[in-house]
C-alpha cells in the first residue's frame, strides 16, 4: 500500500468548480461573459478584458500537444520514480493547460491530437490529464 506522495492541488474559492467538475470527470473551464474568451487557469477576472463576469462552461476535452518534455530526472523527489511526460495541451477552445500525457513517452509528438483523461489519484483528488486520441 503506497500513499500518493506527489503534490496535490488545494482548491481555492476561485478554482473549486474546476476541481469539482474534474471529480465528476467533466472538463469545465471559465468563459468571459463580456469578451467570450475561454480562461485557464481559473481567475477572479478575465485576463483578456478584466471583466469579473465569468461563467463555467463544460468543454470537449479535445486538443493538441502544443509542446512536451519527457522528464527523466525530476526536480522533486516525489516525481523521481520514473520518467513522465509533462506537456502543454492546447484545447480546441484555444486555451493551454499544463498536464501529463498518459502514454509511452516515445509515442508523444508535438501537434498530436489528445483527449482528456481524468486520473483519480486519491479518493478526493482528480487530476486532468490527456491521452493520445485513438485513430
Amino acid at each position: 500500500m503506497s500513499e500518493y506522495a506527489k503534490p496535490l492541488p488545494k482548491p481555492t474559492p476561485t478554482s473549486r468548480p474546476f476541481w469539482e467538475a474534474a471529480r465528476r470527470h467533466e472538463l469545465s473551464i471559465q468563459r468571459c461573459a463580456r469578451c467570450q474568451a475561454y480562461i485557464y487557469y481559473p481567475r477572479e477576472r478575465c485576463p483578456n478584458c478584466f471583466s469579473n463576469q465569468l461563467n463555467w462552461e463544460r468543454v470537449s476535452g479535445r486538443g493538441k500537444v502544443y509542446s512536451y518534455t519527457v522528464v527523466r530526472r525530476a526536480a522533486s523527489r516525489s516525481f523521481a520514480d520514473q520518467p513522465y511526460v509533462l506537456a502543454i495541451v492546447e484545447l480546441d477552445e484555444r486555451v493551454r493547460m499544463t498536464t501529463n500525457i498518459v502514454a509511452d513517452p516515445k509515442d508523444v509528438k508535438v501537434g498530436m491530437p489528445v483527449a482528456v483523461y481524468f486520473d483519480d489519484v486519491t479518493p478526493e483528488h482528480t487530476l486532468v490529464k490527456f491521452k493520445p486520441l485513438a485513430g
Binding site: 503534490p7 509542446s67 518534455t69 527523466r72 530526472r73 526536480a75 522533486s76 516525481f79 509533462l86 493551454r96
Partner: protein
C-alpha cells in the same frame, strides 16, 4: 527623457563560483565579499555608496531584505530596494540604478547578488496558482519549461540538437580562458554534449546550468563620479524590460519571447544598430535560451537561431563573440549572481580587462537578463567611450 548616458558601471566584483562552498560561507557574506571588491574596483569607499539594489538569496530568504543587506554591510542608502525578476534581476538593477541616479535620489548605487547552493529537494514554486496548477503535474523547477520551449522550437523551425549543443561548445572555449569559470579544465565537443545524460528531452546535462555558490556586484555611478573612476566607465546607452507571463504554459508563444520588446526598447534608446555591437552576453540558463534570445533580440531572423550559432564562431576570437566568460553554462550559476556574470563580463570587456579572452576593440555590448521561464527580460546596451 531617456537613460542614455545617465550613469555608468564603474566597478565590478565577482567571486569564483564554487560547487562546494567553504563551510563557514554565508549568502550575506558572499554578497559582502563581492560588494567590497566592486567598491574597491570603482576606486570608492564604502561610505560613497548611497544607493543599494539587492537580490534575495534562496539560501537566506526573508522580509526587509534591502535594509538587512545594507545593515550587514554598514551602508546607509538614500535609495534601497530588492529587485525580484529572477535571472533578469542584475540587468534590471543596472537600469533601475541609472534611473534613481538620474532622478537625483542617489549618486553611487551598489547592485549586489550572492547565494549559497544548498543541495536537496527543489521545492515546488511558491505562488499558490503554481502550486495548484503546475506542481501536481510535475512542472517543478526550470528545466521542464525550457525543454518544452526547445521541443516547440524544433517542431516549428527544425532546430537540431547539434545546433543547440554548439552554444555550450563555443562558450566552453571562452571559459578555458576564464580563471573564474567553474568548468574551465577541458574543451567540449558537440558529441560530448549530445552524449551527456538526457535530463529533460531534448536537453542534455551539458546544456543545463550547474547551480553554484558565489556572489557578484557592480557599482553604477553618476557621470560626475564616473569621470573620476579608476577604470574606463561603461556607460548605459539603452535599456528595455518586458514580461508577458510567469509560467510558460500561459505565455502567448513558447518561441516568440518577451526579449523582442525588451531588446527592441534597448536598441531604440541607444540609437545603435545590431551590426555595431562588438559582443553579446545573453543570459544562458540553457542552450535554447541563447538561441531564442539571439533571434528575438534581432541578431538573426526568427527561427534561424540554430543555423546562426552553428555558422558563427561564438568565441572571444570569433566573428560573433558571445558570453566570453563562458556563460553560466561553463561559469556556473551562483543564484542570481549567475545573471550578474553577463553584466560583469560585458563591463570587463568594455573596460579592456578581458585578459586572454579580450575581444579586440570592444566598444559596444548587448547584455540580456532572463528570469523564470523566459518570463522577465531586461536588456542593456553598454558603451565604452573615448
Amino acid at each position: 527623457m531617456s537613460l542614455k548616458g545617465a550613469a555608468a558601471i564603474i566597478g565590478i566584483g565577482e567571486l569564483k563560483p564554487s560547487k562546494e562552498p567553504p563551510p563557514e560561507a554565508t549568502a550575506l557574506g558572499m554578497m559582502a565579499d563581492a560588494a567590497a571588491e566592486a567598491i574597491a574596483d570603482a576606486g570608492l569607499e564604502k561610505n560613497d555608496i548611497d544607493g543599494l539594489l539587492c537580490g534575495m538569496a534562496f539560501a537566506d530568504p526573508g522580509m526587509l531584505y534591502p535594509a538587512s543587506v545594507a545593515e550587514v554591510m554598514g551602508i546607509s542608502p538614500r535609495m534601497l530596494n530588492q529587485v525580484d525578476i529572477g535571472g533578469a534581476t542584475p540587468t534590471g538593477m543596472v537600469w533601475r540604478a541609472a534611473a534613481s541616479i538620474q532622478a537625483g535620489m542617489c549618486n553611487a548605487v551598489l547592485c549586489v547578488t550572492g547565494d549559497l547552493n544548498k543541495t536537496g529537494d527543489q521545492r515546488p514554486s511558491v505562488i499558490s496558482v503554481q502550486r495548484e496548477f503546475e506542481a501536481p503535474y510535475g512542472n517543478i523547477g526550470a528545466n521542464c519549461g525550457y525543454a518544452m520551449i526547445a521541443n516547440r522550437h524544433i517542431y516549428e523551425y527544425g532546430t537540431t540538437p547539434a545546433q543547440m549543443a554548439k552554444v555550450a561548445v563555443d562558450q566552453r572555449r571562452n571559459a578555458l580562458k576564464n580563471p573564474l569559470a567553474t568548468f574551465n579544465d577541458r574543451p567540449l565537443t558537440i558529441d560530448d554534449v549530445l552524449n551527456s545524460r538526457m535530463i529533460v528531452d531534448p536537453l542534455h546535462l551539458y546544456e543545463i546550468v550547474s547551480p553554484c555558490s558565489g556572489g557578484a556586484a557592480v557599482v553604477v555611478a553618476s557621470p560626475d563620479i564616473a569621470r573620476r573612476a579608476k577604470h574606463p566607465p561603461v556607460w548605459l546607452l539603452g535599456a528595455g524590460e518586458y514580461s508577458n507571463h510567469a509560467t510558460i504554459t500561459y505565455a502567448p508563444s513558447l518561441t516568440d519571447s518577451p526579449v523582442r520588446i525588451a531588446a527592441g526598447a534597448a536598441f531604440k534608446m541607444a540609437g545603435v544598430a545590431h551590426k555595431d555591437i562588438d559582443l553579446v552576453c545573453p543570459y544562458d540558463c540553457y542552450t535554447i535560451t541563447v538561441i531564442v534570445t539571439l533571434e528575438d533580440a534581432g541578431f538573426c531572423k526568427k527561427g534561424q537561431g540554430g543555423p546562426f550559432v552553428a555558422e558563427h564562431d561564438l568565441s572571444y576570437a570569433g566573428d560573433f563573440p558571445c558570453n566570453t566568460h563562458g556563460g553560466q553554462l561553463s561559469f556556473g550559476q551562483p543564484g542570481l549572481a549567475g545573471g550578474m556574470s553577463h553584466a560583469t563580463e560585458a563591463a570587463r570587456q568594455l573596460m579592456g580587462r578581458g585578459g586572454e579572452r579580450q575581444v579586440s576593440n570592444a566598444r559596444l555590448a548587448y547584455v540580456n537578463g532572463n528570469g523564470g521561464i523566459m518570463s522577465e527580460q531586461a536588456s542593456l546596451i553598454l558603451e565604452r567611450r573615448g
